[in-house]
């Protein structure tokens, strides 16, 4: 959680203590925390009209971001990217390449901002931390610099089909390896079969597992995998569930299923965090991930954030874009803006 006065933590993600245990948010449930009260609350949230939601998203997508606004937007997009590699074939070499790209996105342009984070599997978090060196967020922050965080996916990513013990071990491993942020997946099976309390408890347990011995936390992004929840009503309920359980961020997708971060889904999740802020004064972040490949799509996301939750959400502590190929398209656009002519794929680096 972050009220505005609270300092941002090393990763740039605002940290929400486990308020849910304090009962503050659970006052909303009007009763003890049980499957029944959770169900009553979540299923009592008014429905989403899919047509209207998609039309609103499409309308936001027609904003025309030109000239100085576009330049500002492109730099902002870079600062909000979680540069991601989540392949079975990932190696230390691949991760080092990714880290180098996050530090120096465009070697031809020293004014190019750095990325928010790199996002890797937990077993490669240590490699990422090492490769970042002084650019790693906690180190950089100690030196008064904005660093780059290491985000690790955990909890039997992407399916989440493992025992709770295994999921927690997965989290603890990544945290111990120096991950600043944990991107967990919810148990979609539990959610779809109506076992909301189980999903809630699992998020809470993961949040506990994010604690370091020194009292700091790795920050928790909760992946809803909206492509498997399918409906907007489900996505909205899952968003509320994750926020109630103490998520620092709610994230659309793993990037591993057919449907990922659509603009209507991102809009819907932004509406939830906006409403949560109205209710409690707490700000929760949103991370669309998967499927955002072009500058144009990324800028549509920025517009959607600014016109829904507000412009203050356009910072790494409250909005991230999980992407891999997006960065190079943004760099090409920046080069075009700088030079006045169109650039080409050989003028940006592959990672």
């Amino acid at each position: 959680m972050s009220t505005q006065s609270e300092p941002l933590l090393a990763s740039g993600i605002a940290h929400r203590p486990g308020h849910a245990t304090d009962g503050g948010a659970l006052e909303l449930l009007d009763g003890p925390l049980t499957d029944r009260t959770l169900r009553r609350y979540l299923e009592g949230i008014p429905g989403v009209d899919a047509v209207g939601l998609e039309q609103r998203a499409a309308g936001l997508g027609t904003r025309s971001i030109k000239t100085s606004s576009k330049a500002l937007a492109l730099d902002r997009v870079i600062r909000l990217i979680d540069l991601t590699t989540l392949e079975g074939a990932d190696t230390p070499g691949k991760v080092r390449s990714l880290v180098a790209k996050a530090i120096t996105p465009d070697p031809s342009d020293p004014t190019c901002p750095r990325l928010a984070a790199v996002c890797v599997y937990g077993d490669l978090a240590e490699v990422a931390v090492e490769a970042l060196g002084t650019f790693h967020a906690p180190v950089a922050r100690a030196a008064g610099q904005q660093g780059i965080a290491v985000a690790a996916v955990a909890t039997a990513f992407p399916s989440g089909r493992a025992s709770l013990a295994v999921k927690l071990a997965d989290v603890e491993y990544a945290v111990a390896a120096g991950a600043d942020e944990i991107d967990m997946v919810i148990d979609r099976g539990a959610f779809l079969s109506g076992r909301y309390l189980q999903v809630f408890d699992e998020i809470r347990a993961v949040k506990e597992a994010c604690r370091r011995p020194n009292g700091e936390d790795a920050h928790l992004k909760v992946i809803l995998e909206v492509g498997e929840l399918v409906t907007y009503d489900n996505a909205r309920r899952a968003s509320w569930l994750a926020v109630l359980a103490g998520a620092d961020f709610i994230k659309t997708s793993t990037g591993k299923v057919a449907s990922n971060a659509t603009l209507p889904m991102t809009l819907l999740m932004l509406e939830v965090v906006r409403d949560w802020y109205r209710l409690t004064g707490e700000k929760v972040g949103v991370k669309p991930a998967g499927g955002i490949r072009t500058s144009k799509d990324a800028i549509k996301n920025l517009v959607t954030v600014a016109e829904t939750a507000g412009e203050e959400w356009l910072q790494p502590s409250l909005f991230r874009i999980g992407a891999s190929s997006l960065l190079n398209d943004v760099l090409l656009q920046r080069q075009k803006a700088r030079t006045g002519h169109y650039s080409g794929a050989d003028y940006v680096t592959i990672d």
Binding site: V48, D49, A50, V51, G52, E54, V230, T231, Y232, D233
Partner: protein, 289 residues
Amino acid sequence: MTRLAVPKTYKLYIGGKFPRSESGRTYEVADTSGAFLANAAQASRKDARDAVVAARAAVKGWSGSTAYNRGQVLYRIAELLEGRRAQFADELVRSEGLSERRAAAVVDTAIDRWVWFAGWADKVAQVLGNGNPVAGPYFNLSVPEPTGVVAVIAPQAGEGHSLTGFVSAVAPALVTGNTVVVVASRTAPLSAISLSEVLATSDVPGGVVNVLTGDPAEIAPWLASHADVNALDLVGAGALDWVQLQMDAAETLKRVLQPEDGDGAPVPTLARISAFTETKTVWHTKGLL
């Protein structure tokens, strides 16, 4: 020795009741030879006003009934008329001067028109309505709905005008759920009042049909200018200053049917039904997610 007949008092039909004119006025109805037939109530503007109030009050129930039910109620009128064919034929002989054979044919036609219109009640929406293939994720349906309160100047001349003409003007408005205030034939009002008695004992709710007798030239302007009347059928107003009536009706944008050429009864058509309907189009979003 011959029995002394019991003559009928012909009154107005308003809100399911048979009041005299509030004005206390009557006028003499004569047969075609000029001989006295009866005294009919001579409706005033206040009777017209009361009739509109009754008609308005009946709109909700009548238009809210199912089309199947309206069809049955209208068919029931035909059934009741069938049992009183002799009475209606006799009145036509006396008031329009028809031969018994012609009068019987007119009654048959009137009954058959009720049957024909009754059958339309639960088909109009299918024939006049449609699902609309709009270019977007929407359910979109157009249906005809009743206009509301329809004022009718019934046919005033021609063979069978006082019964078949009356029915042919009133029935199409009723089919979709409108209620009616109708000014009957001035010279031959007996059939209309007798028909009211049939309506009163049928299943037609009070106020759905309200019948005024008297001078159309006196009553029509009050109906044409009445703000709570939604539509005006001038089918029998050809001899009146109907252009002025249409202009009066324009003040509140009433739907107007102009007088028809020729005497007698208007031809029964779907167009007479649709004239007093409003197309309502309902959109609803369609979303799987």
